[in-house]
Symmetry: C2
Subunit: 592 residues, 2 copies
């Protein structure tokens, strides 16, 4: 049976030693003193380990069931959901006026990682609610906000996002769900949506569906899509629940993983819906939710990799098998623990260096989001927009690979369900797919974000790397191990961007054929930058003679591993990118 | 519902255009004329598509059940097993005197890929039987051979291999199963074995377990292990079945995949066993089976990748989503098929170029096995010994990654069980683990095979590459696209081997820390060599003006993709290897 311990020490290191959050001028950050964030994270970790993690396997084994239109969640989910709700954990960062705690998004991200690692399927009920609430907060009328947000902030009501239909996922312009205007200003929504996470369940009094649909007579394709609020139960004027709306769950999908979350086919049959935001501007409103969801999914990739790593590490220290070739390390035992073997250490260090680097990347990205939203910083907004597809695509690809590596450490036991490693891999797999499959993230990055505003955001990123390198150029402790490899990797990235600029104009396929490699190349540079910053902070910590020196040393050594063993991937991605469109495009469709 | 079509055309191309099997002097190969192999492969393909593939999802959904010691296989398995048995498919390559057809191993491999792709869990019942029969053939007495082989050749009786115990997998020296000698020359076997594939089921009259156990008083550790034949029912003097032996299935494991195969905990309680081979030489005998099994597992990796690719390709051509950025390809339809998008083509070409290159590698390796066994060619035996861990480790790692890429092409539908892509991924996952986890393959390659006989085998491999490059140095059609990249990749491999030689003596960890990368680097060079040979054959085919020119062109273009997009990985692996032991070893265990 796997276990989970929240990485509070590592998060505190990133928040305070690396990002120095309470010393920045991002609004709301002054309160993020170490004692405060430590208390929040410790408490979140306690619930995660004691309440959520023990339900993870239960959710996987039991799954959800649908009977007469009623979806039942696995044993214990409802009680745990109540407990999390009662603890005030579901709306840390929403405004106080709607019942939230107005904390910065960076804290929401850290707590979200902890909760997701303990139980991804469970956490999704809250995560989707949060996303829907954010969309209402950004685009709703005052009336809509006061009607829905307080109940959603408390998760008394949960939320969903309804985009996909059987014949369209990425290409939402093909959508068929209709919204007929009514005399009272509402709409009648009819159509079928699929893959609706948390679409129906028994843990909340009401479910607020955000539904994309077309108003007849509007523009063709994606420009004719609007967003609607469709509550499961109509909310009456006095805020109490009225009649059941014309929306129901037609089917639960049998999935590879996240069995504890109900993935529903949702049927809308003249359901009453209320326009959210402007007519035909539904995609803009939905993107508020999508961008947040994409960061959240990137976080899931890291979370599953971390819990899988924690268990693989414990197994590697516990399981006795074979001998250290340089001499027995456990001479009195029948064999040495797995961790003595270099290839096991390679697998563990791949995981550890990814998880810690990715966590820093996520928290730094979240700081940028706070800087953008709370600080109204357009430059930060640009960087977030650029990095979002990398956070989603790179962190979930790598996150999944790392759960596979963790599973591998268990040998045959990794394949047996009762050991729990299979679930981590199966649950992590979805993160590469939903909220825009990773190929779509790569397309978004190269086709949209890179050229945005004349390449302004990517130039700003390069400037940040350059500034970091310059600021530390005299730092001999960092130079060979961190600064030089970061410089080389960043050069590969610039060269790839240059290749796209020079060739993508003539032939867009020259850029698109390399988009996936570019996303990974960029991701490695981001993690390289994070490790260089963490190593710097660790050296400073050692010099200051305060804190846990051993911990700082582990950071430096783990970082060195990343720079030496993982970062060389950038050259390979560059070589692939520079091979251009031809290898990818020259084979005729019928010759595949 | 996924489907499967046997790649007979591709196999024929490899057998006859590339390897030119019927023109070689390997004993038995003269009969392998195109008409003959074509007929065998077509027929195997028919059974695979019509009988085995439709049972694949059934096996996954139903799984096996254990009740009162009786294991039931999924609906339809027994009938299909009878059909395959009646068709004479289970012992293509065993000697005629024992009921086999005495075909070369290369045909067994080709047919095995077809069968595995259609239904891996099902095919394992036969595959394990074949492995056990091979061990009896190589190490059994005349009496043992005549008692067991005819019934195993026909799969009236099936076989298993029993190595793992709860506390020991890789490190078999820790084994506790005991074999007490009896007055009549037999042994009483007692102990527990786990992860026994096909350990108990309802498709055969008898099950012949090959069991590793220790005879009390023998040498410590791995040197005191002997191999025993333990039949489920004792075979009487007249060949009929006698009493039930003291062996039973105590539990079926719940696994991530291959649900149609029964993975058993086997309890031996003073079961009667017969020594196979010599006392305390059990590992040697078991390795006859293991090496064959490792080739077979590599083949499973390719097989799952192929069936997943076939379905991803069909989906990519069928599913309409988005538009070709260079202009609509399906202007009259609502959208273009997925295959117009460069990143979808990238994913498909990764799969196609792997599958076809790996298939050539497997068949070439099988030819070497025939050359070694039938031709008594020691050099070929050396090459096989060197390549076995690469075939097992590299092809299953890549094979799994390719099923994941294929699943990804389906977007959200890839995650839903009813589409079948999840099963391919879950089934493919085991191949990286069983028959020696891939890390153990890397250790075997670098720790044992590379230095074997003073590095003789790897030198022979380099000579083969060199000879190929030299033989074709004037071939302008191959030079830039195939020979130059192969040369560069091979140079990376040589440099890595040199690094190990120079550093591994002083510090074995300097080599072991790079073992996994070396296995992948070596694998890429092997596939690069295969693609260069296939491109050569394709060019010759085009020049000869015979055969399917379009097919030959597809080979050249797919090969170019591999050389340009996949082979650059060798430089990354070399860089990781050359970073040596320090990044992997410097972090103290307690700082992980």
């Amino acid at each position: 049976m796997p276990s989970y311990t929240a990485p509070t020490k590592d998060m505190q290191f990133i928040l305070h030693d690396v990002l120095k959050v309470s010393q920045t001028d991002t609004p709301g950050y002054a309160e993020l003193e170490p004692d405060f964030t430590g208390a929040v994270l410790e408490e979140a970790g306690k619930i995660a380990s004691e309440v959520l993690a023990p339900l993870n396997a239960v959710g996987d084994t039991e799954g959800c069931t649908l009977e007469n239109g009623v979806v039942r969640t696995p044993t214990g989910f409802k009680e745990a959901f109540d407990q999390v709700r009662d603890g005030g954990w579901t709306a840390l960062d929403l405004p106080e006026e709607y019942g939230g705690q107005n904390m910065p998004y960076i804290i929401y991200t850290a707590v979200g990682e902890i909760s997701s690692a303990a139980n991804q399927a469970f956490t999704m009920y809250q995560g989707l609610t949060h996303g829907a609430a954010s969309a209402i907060l950004a685009h709703g009328s005052e009336d809509q906000k006061s009607t829905y947000l307080p109940k959603m902030a408390s998760c008394e009501w949960t939320g969903t996002m309804n985009l996909t239909e059987p014949h369209c996922g990425t290409d939402l312009g093909l959508m068929r769900t209709k919204a007929e205007p009514q005399a009272d200003g509402s709409f009648k929504i009819s159509g079928q949506k699929i893959f609706i996470s948390s679409g129906e369940h028994d843990m909340a009094d009401n479910i607020i569906h955000l539904v994309l649909a077309k108003i007849p007579g509007g523009p063709e394709g994606i420009k004719g899509v609007s967003l609607f609020i469709v509550p499961k139960f109509i909310v009456k004027e006095d805020g109490t629940l009225g009649e059941r709306n014309g929306v129901s769950c037609g089917k639960l999908e049998e999935k590879m993983g996240i069995h504890g979350n109900s993935t529903c086919v949702m049927n809308y049959d003249e359901a009453t819906g209320y326009l959210l935001g402007e007519e035909h501007k539904g995609m803009r409103a939905m993107f508020t939710m999508m961008n947040e969801a994409r960061i959240g999914v990137g976080m899931q990739g890291v979370a599953q990799a971390d819990v899988a790593y924690q268990n693989a590490l414990a197994y590697a220290k516990d399981r006795l098998q074979g001998r250290d070739v340089t001499g027995a390390k456990n001479p009195d035992g029948p064999a040495d623990p797995l961790i003595v073997h270099p290839d096991i250490r390679r697998a563990l260090l791949d995981q550890k260096s990814f998880v810690e680097g990715a966590r820093a990347f996520l928290l730094w990205g979240s700081q940028m989001i706070d800087q953008s939203h709370r600080g109204k910083d357009a430059a930060a907004e640009g960087i977030v927009s650029l990095l979002t597809p990398i956070i989603k695509g790179f962190l979930t690809d790598e996150g999944f690979d790392m759960t596979i590596r963790a599973q591998q450490v268990y040998g045959g036991h990794g394949y047996i369900e009762e050991w729990g490693m299979s679930q981590f891999a199966r649950d992590a797999r979805i993160a590469m797919i939903y909220e825009g499959a990773n190929g779509v993230q790569a397309l978004d990055l190269v086709g949209r974000k890179l050229p945005q505003d004349g390449g302004k955001h990517v130039m700003a990123f390069f400037e940040m790397v350059k500034a970091f390198l310059k600021d530390n150029e005299g730092n001999e402790a960092l130079k060979a191990d961190f600064l030089d490899p970061l410089k080389a990797a960043s050069k590969d990235l610039q060269q790839a961007a240059m290749f796209f600029m020079q060739n993508g104009m003539k032939n867009p396929n020259a850029a698109l054929a390399g988009s996936y490699d570019f996303m990974h190349l960029f991701g490695h540079v981001c993690l390289g930058l994070m490790w260089a910053q963490m190593a710097k902070a660790a050296h400073e910590g050692i010099e200051a003679g305060e804190g846990d020196t051993r911990f700082y040393q582990s950071k430096i050594k783990t970082g060195r591993y990343y720079m030496k063993r993982r970062l060389p991937a950038t050259a390979m991605h560059l070589a692939r990118i520079e091979s251009g469109a031809e290898p990818v495009m020259e084979l005729e469709d019928e010759l595949f």
